[in-house]
Amino acid sequence: MKTFASVNARDAKHAVTLSQQARRDGKVAAFNGGGSDLLGLVKERTLSPDVLVNLRTIKGLDEVSSSRGMVNVGGLITLDALGRNQQIRRDYAVLAEAAETVATPQIRNFGTLAGNVCQRPWCWYFRNGFPCYKAGGNQCFSVTGENQFHAIFGGGPSFIVHPSDTAPALVALEANFRIVGPSGERMIPAADFFVLPQRTPARENILADDEMLAGVQLPAPRPGTRGTYHKVLDREAWTHAVVSAAIVLEIEKDVCRSARIVLGGVAPIPWRVPAAERLLIGQRVTPELAAQVAETALAGANPLRNNGYKVPLTKTIVRRTVLELANRTA
């Protein structure tokens, strides 16, 4: 591996300072949480940091706490801890379930929520050293290459799909992200965190240099809310989502009061489908309505040569999940 120095951060602000210092010295800095994704990129030389700012020494940034009805989740919470947390399982099942579907126990034991949300794409061109948009180049090799796992929505100029399982869940929960950077702290809605390649082809989110995702804030759960994460894998475990759906419904006396449907594995960002959500409002969920919701969710999909199968597949997932959630006794 390339040489680098590992420096320990005391707190989020210190981490930012360490990153800034490194960059001022003309060095490339990177934050590490669990490190699984980062080390892979460093070993492949896709990323060549001189300084790793170690966030694992920060205390207290891995906790779940409540204040004024809202729940704060530290960015350094491991996926394993997140999936096992009783409060999250009860009130934000979609997030717990998403965390549980990630990779393997070994990765979930050390991989963090922030790391999962910020991990780089798993496009096989990017991961195999092609000089693509995501690696700072100026083309997307999937367009004329092998694209069965690529985007059917929001693609161009890069057609990666966002690799995170927790990201669609957080968007579906309408979480806010706490970002710490050189100018202090800011909160932004989860949906605004992720950016399409047409805006910044080399990045998947709005984090600027020296900025880090410190945590997420989940709004208080409303009565009658139920959510689930449905992930389709390419073997029974240990792949990223071929497609997935994070769905949260608020149902009162069999009538849907609000709905959030966010798709994973179909676009360079978690892909929310408001038109499909609207069909559910004020309705009883029937098999016919669920099918209509699914049709609407996939309207406008624009597949490449080899990923057309994602359209019927995602429709099935949306239809089944909406129906299953609606039929659940709350």
């Binding site: 040489t3 080390l39 790793l52 050390f110 390419d234 073997r235 071929v242 099935t316």
Partner: protein, 940 residues
Amino acid sequence: MKKTETRKKKHTSRREFLESTGAVLVAATAVPAIQAQTSETQGSPAPAAPRTAIRLHVNGSNQRIEVEDRWTLAELLRDHLKLTGTKIGCDRGECGACTVLVDGKPAYSCSQLAVWMDGRSVETVESLAQGGKLHPLQKSFMEHDAPQCGFCTSGQLMSARALLARNPHPTAQEVQAALTGNLCRCSNYNRYVAATVAAGAGNEGRSLQSVSRSAALGASLPTLKTVGQPTTRIDARERVSGKATYSGDVQLPGMLYARVLRSPHPHARIRKIDASQALAMPGVKAIVSHENCKFVWGAGGVAGGVQYNDQIKKITKQRRYAFNNPVRFAGDPVAAVAAVDRHTAEEALRRIEVDYEVLPFVLDPEEAMKPGAVQIWPEGNVSLDNQNEAKPMTQQRGKVEDGFRTADHVFEDRYTTAFVHNAQMEPRTCVAMWEGDKLTMYTPTGGIANCQNDIARDLEIPTDKVRVICQYMGGNFGNKNQNQDSDLIAATLAKQAGAPVKLEFSRKEDFIGMHGRWPTIQYYKVGVNRDGTLQSIQLRGYSGMGPYRKNSGRMGGIEIYQCPNIESVIYPVYTNKTVSGNFRGPEFPQGFFGIQSMMDDVAYKMNMDPVDFVLKNMTRKANDQVDYTNYSLDECIRRGVEAFDWKTRWRPKPGSDPGPIKRGAGMSFMAFRSGVGRSNAIIQLDGNGQYWVRVGVTDVGAGAKTTMGLIAAEALDVPLSQINVVWGDTDRCPYSVGESGSRTTIMTGTAVIEAARDLKRQIAAKGMPKGSDVLTASANPNPTVEGGKVRATYGAHFVDVEVDTETGRVRVLKYLAVHDCGRIMNPLSATGQIKGGATMGIGMALHEELLYDPRSGQALTPGYYGHRVLTHRDAPEIEVIFLESDDGYGAFGSKSMGESSKVPAVAAVGNAIFNAIGRRMKDLPITRSRIIVALSGERA
């Protein structure tokens, strides 16, 4: 900048040296020159890798260690704390071999930096046994024969230990979930799960209830004393305690680390290699490339699909060297560096400048056959055989055209199979050491004697100047027969540097640098009569060989049908993909997928139950002419049909289940080569009454050491405890056939029996030896089968699948494998062989592919994640029934086994999917996307 200038200066001298030595490496000249270079560089400062002192609690002891910030935890444990029980299979968190516990939780030690472990507790496999007493999990793993090759075992153990700590009585499903992050390419998943469940239930010491069902064929198969008893492997303890020494665990004083630079282009001519910057780096000790290392790698190249030998070496026109120019696939070695540590070697590769003239390339064998296609060799793209002739491989009986004329129905179809990789858990690592003119190689090989011969031939030194040692090996599956280019490269670097060299392949290099199963395109035409009797079978096939013909490129399968007219014409075609070679049943799983899918389809179109069709048309004599030494194919199928409940599970109308989730059943059968042949064994008896059985086996994971011990014990009529097997070292063992072709038990086992007979004669004549006396018996039998009969091993697989037609998900609900592999030597390991092959077959059917980018010719899935090797959660329970027989050949009637279990598996899964969904899936792998496309009519 100043430093750079100094480097430049050194580079010039090195450059001049390279040019002055010309193309051929002259070791005697090279060594002093490089040593001079070395002493020069020792003066300059080493590149500063930041270091940090950490406190670490390792296996119960507190340690203060200064680590380089870039060291992974695995690296710290293995290289610096000598805890080599933790293995590195991929170095990317994609396999689990490196799993250790960090603060009690399973972690991939390859994906954690050592510096992050400050203040933490780390437990490795070495911590499990306390005071010489094994942990219950270790015992249970031994008793269940969970480790085959053993390379993944430490990781499986650590995950299991963490599970039991929080859940002392897990269910099988909970074990699968907890161990999902630990791959086992031997695919002994059933056993790891059973062993963990048993250990958890506190059933320590409990013997297995049943390893498999077994029934004797015919009336008389007398029970033997030792052979046939479920036996714990003689080296099981080493495999579960991290003490088994694999090649990568070898560390020698002063050892250097080597890395290979590979071509990024699928086809290019190297104009110039400038290694001066690399050579000037402090710590770099030697660099080799095609300019100074001109050895032919015989076994890697153009043998026309037969074992390489001196004769072929003289004849072949198309030679494969350790380094080739032009390079002919992305991954072809270009240069290699030996340096003081692996990071320096890796960094040095980046400083080698290669000027390529990029050439056009071709990836698809049919494309490569077209007029005007890129010519990979001057002789054209049809691979040359060992007589330098570009001919297809043909097989003919009768006249197919006559059969098609008289047949009532003629069917035609096209099937394709993907390029898949062996993906054995242990990546290629070898250590080369010269002592004077004698080379010792620690290298993973399934055939130490073949490897020794090949290395000597390739390096042009006498055979007795090469010693090959392989004590443990992390899986073979055809990928580590003979010698490897890595052996030649490491030996050359070690010679140049004057120090031992460890050459390590990364997982990606192991995928793209070695070989996988040849992809095929198969065109069938089948003529059949109204009553379902076959009249003609014609196959035209194309195998993608990569740019060197390492192995045959055949497609097996047609021969298992009796049919008056057959014709098969198969072209082994050069392409610019990674080389193709042997992989568990080299030509069969892919050939069988084609022919057995085709025949299943013919049966369907003839409105017949496939079982009836098979019973009518399957082979009864070899090539329709010659008797088999025993025949039980019909019995395998009948017993399977009954035990599987075929009539209930198979749908007379495919795809007829109501609703989107449909079930269906499929079957496939095989008759597979099981020849006899030459091998050697030596048995010695010492004055203490101990028997020393010397056999040239490594034990690739199938249990050969134990099998040889069992056979010796039986033949000598002594308990296994008096038998000491000596293996894996050419200085201590006689020549034995390599552990490829499923032949060790048959051939080397027969040699053991012969040697035992001789020894018993000697004992009868001279009495038991006393004091320091030793009796020695050796045997070199070369048996043949009488009357020109053919030996075959038989089997039939039955699969019940559930397919979600809307999501394309396929789940195997029931899997039954019925095999006649002759007499079973050790039911415990034999069952694991069948389970493993069948599970691998499911992976090949549903998921696996080494996929290439059509535009750049680069592999896109060169690793466990991309290649989709099955996980614990994917692996169904494989039920095994053995029909035991003894045809009078092989050791006590043993027949081939290891490969055979994969042969029918892929087709059986494919046929079950057809029965469930009513669509014939003709291309491998049968992925979700292909099923959805087939059923929904969506484009791609």
